[in-house]
Every structure is written in structure tokens, then in C-alpha cells.
């Protein structure tokens, strides 16, 4: 039971929504990594792999659209005497995940304004996801930052390239609320 399973489910929906466009790729939960070139420090998004290596998932001109998620915050609440608790369990847990979806796309190839892309993303965040380990999963979009330069400077501090005007990068903030029974956690990766 991992939040990454939720992001992968969202990515499948995003692939459906943008299926008519070639060259799209969506990644799971990335982290900001520091890369040094001499004395220059550059920050960029990358996936942490099981091998211990990092895979860069950021801007890449070979793709028409690239998406990746970042997990910003996680809080947990406990509902005592929930009708969804059985046996001697006193209640159920709810994890509230605060995430961002970063979406880079080429506006020459995907002829959509950023707000139009945003509406398509809203349709991709469907509720009723069945994720192993979660009793219920609800995803809600909170906000979107449409200012590409603002998002680019936040994600790519210190990098030696600039975002061309025909490329857009959005940051969509969303929340995932997952309720679960702690005795049903799948800890097989331990």
C-alpha cells in the first residue's frame, strides 16, 4: 500500500486523457536531487530507483509531454469508533497526502492553453480508485500554478538552460485522502 500506487493509477488516467498525442510519458513520485558541475549546483527532479541510482525525469525535448509527481507532506488522523472498524479495532486511520503534479509539454505539438490542459487533468483525477491496502481513496485538486517561468525556476534551480516560450510547465497541487486498516497494510517490501 503506497502512495506511489495512487500516482501510477492517476498516470494511467492521464495517458488515456492525452492518448491522442504521441511522445507522452508520466512518472511516479520524483525527488529533487542536487547535481554539481564543477562549482555550479543544479537542482532537478529524478526518480529514486531500487538499484540506488537516480533517473532524471525532468524536461526532455524528445518527449511531447512529461509528467511526474512530488510528495510534499503527509499527515495522519485517526477516527475513533468508526463504523468501518471491525473486531477489537478502535477506529480507522486516514492519511492525507499533499502532492504536486508537474506537467511539462510542448505547446507547438499539443495545441492547448495551460488552463485547457489543467481541465483535462481534473478529469483524470477520478475518485473510486481501488488501491490495494486502502479502504477508500479520494483525490482532490487544490490549485494550479500556470506561470511556467515560476514553476521552472522552482524545479530547476541553478540549471544552465532556459525554458523556451513554446514550452509550458504547470504545477498542479492535489490532495489524496486514503483511509486504511493498519492491520491490512501490505509491508511485503520490508
Amino acid at each position: 500500500m503506497k502512495i506511489n500506487d495512487v500516482t501510477l493509477s492517476i498516470n494511467e488516467n492521464l495517458k488515456d486523457v492525452f492518448s491522442k498525442y504521441p511522445g507522452i510519458v508520466f512518472h511516479g513520485i520524483a525527488e529533487t536531487v542536487l547535481k554539481k558541475q564543477g562549482t555550479v549546483e543544479m537542482y532537478m527532479p529524478a526518480l529514486f530507483l531500487d538499484s540506488g541510482d537516480y533517473q532524471y525525469v525532468g524536461i526532455d525535448n524528445t518527449f511531447t509531454m512529461i509528467g511526474y509527481h512530488k510528495l510534499n507532506r503527509l499527515s495522519t488522523s485517526f477516527q475513533l469508533n468508526s463504523v468501518k472498524s471491525y473486531g477489537r479495532k478502535e477506529g480507522i486511520y486516514t492519511n492525507n497526502y499533499s502532492l504536486s503534479l508537474f506537467l511539462y509539454y510542448d505547446r507547438k505539438k499539443i495545441k492547448l492553453f495551460p488552463d485547457e490542459v489543467y481541465l483535462k487533468i481534473i478529469s483524470a483525477l477520478q475518485n473510486g480508485m481501488k488501491i490495494k491496502g486502502f479502504n477508500s481513496v479520494i483525490a482532490r485538486i487544490n490549485e494550479v500554478i500556470l506561470n511556467s517561468q515560476q514553476v521552472f525556476q522552482k524545479e530547476y534551480k541553478g540549471v544552465d538552460f532556459k525554458l523556451p516560450v513554446e514550452k509550458s510547465i504547470l504545477e498542479i497541487g492535489y490532495t489524496v485522502e486514503g483511509t486504511f486498516d493498519k492491520d491490512c497494510l501490505d509491508n511485503c517490501r520490508c
Binding site: Y86, G87, R88
Partner: protein
């Protein structure tokens, strides 16, 4: 002329001693497990897990390991008294309600047990099991709420009438767990 005694003097039953303990740990609520027991199956000791295992293996006991629910404690049935006693307590009508979250694969089970008149009922609280001494009627329902976050579960009402209140016994260890009916309990 002296008459032989026709009515025995006093009809009171023997009252056992009352137990008290200022520091007793209270028993916590919720029907956390339930069971249906064939009326022909008799316990010598409801706290003995071996008796339960025998009943389960012979399919005379059906365990529902994880539930939530409540027991109403009984509605008194009073009958007209005699002499200077206006009414007397003749028994109770009992009702227990529990929810079973294992929904899809238990439709046949609940459709069958609702027609049966030959099962007693046991319910488990924190550390105690209570077994009815009489057969019960079972009214299962599977309501659906207009709420996409709600769960569809079996809602079971169990009713019975008895003179006496259910007696609590220590819950037998290792019985109210989830297992399959292969005749062995792991």
C-alpha cells in the same frame, strides 16, 4: 380442622452471593465477533477452545470473526401478576445487530441462515463470549447508502426470546479468527 399445606411456602429462587471488586477491569463494548451454533450442539464449557474446534470441524458452529454491532440488553416482557403483585417479569425479547464486512461471497450464507430455525447465537465483546440458550431468528439485510465513500456490508439483526439473560464466559482463545472450512484450524 387443619389443612395440609397446598401451596409450598415462598416461591423465591435461591439468590447467589453478589460479587464486588472496586478495581475490576471493565469489559469494553461492541459485538466484535459472532457465531451461529446448531441447536443440537451443547457446550460443557463455552470457554474451552477444544469444544469450539470440534463444533467448527463438524460444521455445527459457524464463526463470523470480525464484526461491529450492539446488543440491546433485552426488552422486558411483563405478565399480569397474582395476589398483591401487579406484574411479574416473565422474560425478555432480545435483539442483537451486527455488521459483517465480508460482503460479496456471503450472499448464499445469509440467504440460507435466514430460513433456519435451528441455530443459537453467540456474540463476543472484549474478552467475553455470550451464548444464547434458545434458537434465534436471523434477519439479514444489505443496504446501500448514497455515499461513494461508504461500505456495503451485511447488516444482521438477530432476535430471540428467553427467560434469562445471556451469561458471559471467557472467550476461548484462537477461535474467533478468520480461517477456511477445510476442517483444520491453523
Amino acid at each position: 380442622m387443619a389443612y395440609d399445606v397446598y401451596y409450598p411456602g415462598g416461591c423465591a429462587s435461591i439468590i447467589p452471593d453478589h460479587y464486588c471488586n472496586d478495581c475490576e477491569q471493565p469489559e469494553k463494548g461492541r459485538i466484535s465477533s459472532a457465531a451461529f451454533i446448531k441447536d443440537s450442539f451443547e457446550f460443557n464449557d463455552p470457554s474451552d477452545p477444544n469444544e469450539w474446534i470440534t463444533g467448527i470441524q463438524n460444521k455445527e458452529i459457524i464463526i463470523i470473526p470480525k464484526t461491529n454491532g450492539s446488543f440491546d440488553g433485552g426488552s422486558e416482557v411483563e405478565s399480569t401478576g397474582y395476589g398483591r403483585v401487579a406484574t411479574y417479569l416473565s422474560g425478555y425479547n432480545f435483539q442483537a445487530i451486527f455488521n459483517d464486512p465480508n460482503y460479496k461471497l456471503n450472499a448464499d450464507f445469509y440467504n440460507a441462515i435466514k430460513n433456519s430455525r435451528g441455530y443459537r447465537f453467540a456474540y463476543v465483546t472484549e474478552t467475553l463470549v455470550h451464548v444464547t440458550t434458545v434458537p434465534v431468528s436471523v434477519v439479514p439485510k444489505n443496504p446501500v447508502q448514497d455515499d461513494v465513500t461508504s461500505d456495503v456490508v451485511w447488516n444482521i439483526t438477530v432476535k430471540w426470546s428467553d427467560k434469562n439473560l445471556p451469561i458471559p464466559y471467557d472467550v476461548p482463545p484462537g477461535i474467533f479468527e478468520c480461517f477456511d472450512y477445510t476442517g483444520t484450524i491453523s
